[in-house]
C-alpha cells in the first residue's frame, strides 16, 4: 500500500490540474520511486488516482523506457549503445560491465543492486561512451572508471 503522505501529495497535484491525465507519467514515476518498479498493484493504484483504466495506464507504462514493469535493482544502469558511444567503444564497455556484474543485458545482479539495460542515445555524445545510473550521467567511460563508480555505489547502498 502507498503511504498516506505520497497518496495525499499526488491527489493534491491531481486536484490542482485541469486535466489529470497530464500527470500520468509523474504519477507512474512517483509510484515507481516508492515500490522500486511499477508493479501490478502500483499500476492499479496509478489508474485509480488518475481516473484512468488500468489498461490505459498499461499502454503508457509499457511504452516508456524509464518505466519499469518488472523488478529492477536499486541502481538501474542505462548504457548508451547509439552511434557515437558505439563508435567510441560501447561494445567493449558492455562486455566489461556484463562480466563485472555477472549479468547479461537486461539482467539484475544476484545482490539486487544493479540492473543493466542498453538505451538509445542519451544526448551526451560529447562525453562518449556514456551511461546513466538512476538518471545521473557518467561519461568518458573506461574499465577503471566503471570500477570506481560501481564500488562507490555499492558502498552507498
Amino acid at each position: 500500500m502507498l503511504p498516506e503522505e505520497i497518496r495525499e501529495e499526488l491527489q493534491r497535484q491531481i486536484i490542482a490540474i485541469e486535466h489529470p491525465r497530464e500527470l500520468a507519467v509523474d504519477v507512474m514515476f512517483a509510484l515507481q520511486a516508492h515500490y522500486g518498479y511499477l508493479s501490478d498493484a502500483a499500476l492499479q493504484e496509478a489508474a485509480t488516482l488518475l481516473g484512468m483504466t488500468p489498461l490505459e495506464v498499461e499502454e503508457l507504462a509499457t511504452f516508456y523506457t524509464f518505466i519499469y514493469r518488472e523488478p529492477v535493482g536499486k541502481y538501474v544502469i542505462h548504457l548508451c549503445d547509439s552511434l557515437i558511444c558505439w563508435m567510441d567503444g560501447y561494445e567493449s564497455i558492455r562486455d566489461y560491465m556484463c562480466r563485472k556484474l555477472a549479468v547479461e543485458l537486461g539482467g539484475t545482479t544476484a545482490d539486487g543492486l544493479f540492473t543493466l539495460l542498453p538505451v538509445c542515445c542519451i544526448g551526451y555524445c560529447d562525453r562518449s561512451p556514456a551511461m546513466l545510473i538512476n538518471r545521473k550521467v557518467y561519461g568518458f567511460l573506461t574499465p577503471e572508471k566503471i570500477d570506481a563508480i560501481l564500488e562507490k555505489l555499492k558502498a552507498e547502498a
Binding site: E22, F66, L83, I84, C121, G123, C125, R135
Partner: protein
Amino acid sequence: MPKDYPQVLFQNRKPDRINTLDEYRQSGGYSVLARVLEEGSHAAVKQQIFDAVLLGRGGAAFPAGMKMETIADDAPFPRYIVCNADEMEPGTFKDRVLIHADPHMLIEGMIITGYGILADKGLVFIRPEYENAAKILEREIQVAREAGYLGQNILGSEYSLDIVVHRSGGRYICGEVTAQLNALMGKRPNPKQPPPYPTEKGLWDRPTLVNNVETLACVPHIIRNGADWFKSLALTDGAAGTKIFCVSGHVNRPGCYELPLGVHLSEIIEEHAGGMRNDAAFKACLPGGASTRFMPKQFYDIEMDFGSLKKEGHRLGTGAIMIFDHTTCMVATALNLIEFFARESCGWCTPCREGLPYIRDLLARIEAGEGEEAFIPALEGMSRHLGNAYCAFAPGAAAPVESLMTYFGDEVREHIAQKKCPFKGSRKNKVAILGVEAPGRQGAKT
C-alpha cells in the same frame, strides 16, 4: 585559433555554471519583454519572427513565423505554447547545453513567443535523461515568476502566462509533434496525421504552438535587434541567424559550437572541432542527426545552412554533425542507426514496424559476411517503402540506408564479395550476437 563569430545564444555561456537571472538581465535579458508588453502588439511579434526567416531548429526547418500565422486571430482559447526539449535525435545535445548555459533565454523566448499567439499556458516537454535540465528549468521558472515575468499580469500588463515542466517517460517518437501532444495528454504517444494541425487542434483540441528550445531562444534576440540583424548573422544568402552545431565522432574536440549559418563544414571540423582525431582522413558525416543522409567527402567544403544542403539533396536536420574517419565501416554505422530506429519505432504503422527489422536483418547479414547481391535491390526497395509510413520517423530512418546505397554502394558490395567486413575481418558471429531474426528473411534471398 578558430575564427571568432558573434555569440548570440551562447553569449553568456560559462564553463562551470549556469547564467543567473541577474547576469541575464545585465546582458539585456527581459528588457525586450517589457517593451513588447508595453507596446501591446502581439501581431508585431509574429511579424518580426516571420520577417527574420527563423527556421525551426529541431530538425524540420519549418518557418517559425509561418507556423504562428496558422493560429487564426479568432482561434479559440485557451491556447498553448509547448517547448520541445525532447531532443532524442542521436548525436544531438545542443538543447541540453543551451538550457544549462542560459535558462532564462529560453524562458523569455517562450514568454515572448507565447505572447505572439496569446498563449494561456506554456509547457516544456523534456526527456528523462535531462533530469538536471528539468530541475534547472523548474527552479529558474520559479525565479522568473517571483520577478514578475511569469504568472498573472506579467510586468503589470494585461498578459498572463505560466509555464510548467513536463517530464517524459522517454521514447524517441515523443519528439514528433503530434506524438508529443498525445504524450502530454497522457495518451499513448502515437503520431497523428494532420490535418487538423496542432496549431488548429492541438493539446486538448486547442490551438497549440510547438517549438524547439533553440528556436525559442532565438526569439528575444530577433525582437531586440530586428529581423535584418538576424539575417545578417548568416554567411549565405537566404539563411538567417546562427546555429548551434553539436559536433561528435572522430574529431579532437567534440562539443557545441555556435557559428553563423553558412559556415563551411571543413571549417567546423578543422578549426572549431580541432580537426580529425589521430590525423585520420575525413570519410563522411551525418550533418544533422541520425535521420539525415550521409554526406561523403565531396561535400567536405559545403556551406552549412538549410538551403545549401537542400539544394544538394541533403538536410541540415538538428545540426548535430557526426564525423566518421577512413577507418569507419559505413555498413556497420548504418546498422547501428537502424538498430536504434527499429527499437524506437512506436509500432503504430506497418512500413515502420515491419520494414525496419527487415532492413536491420539485411544489413546485419551483410556486415557478418553473409550478404548476397539480391540484398541490394531489397534494401533500396524497402527504404523507398518506408516513405509510406504514417509520420516522418520512417522516412528519416531510411535516409542513412538510402545514402549508404547511393554513396557507399561499392563498400556494401565489397562486404558481399569478400564475405566479410573489410574493416574488421570476419565477423561471422555478429548475427548471432544481435539475435536478429526478421520476418521476410526468406523473401530477401530470392
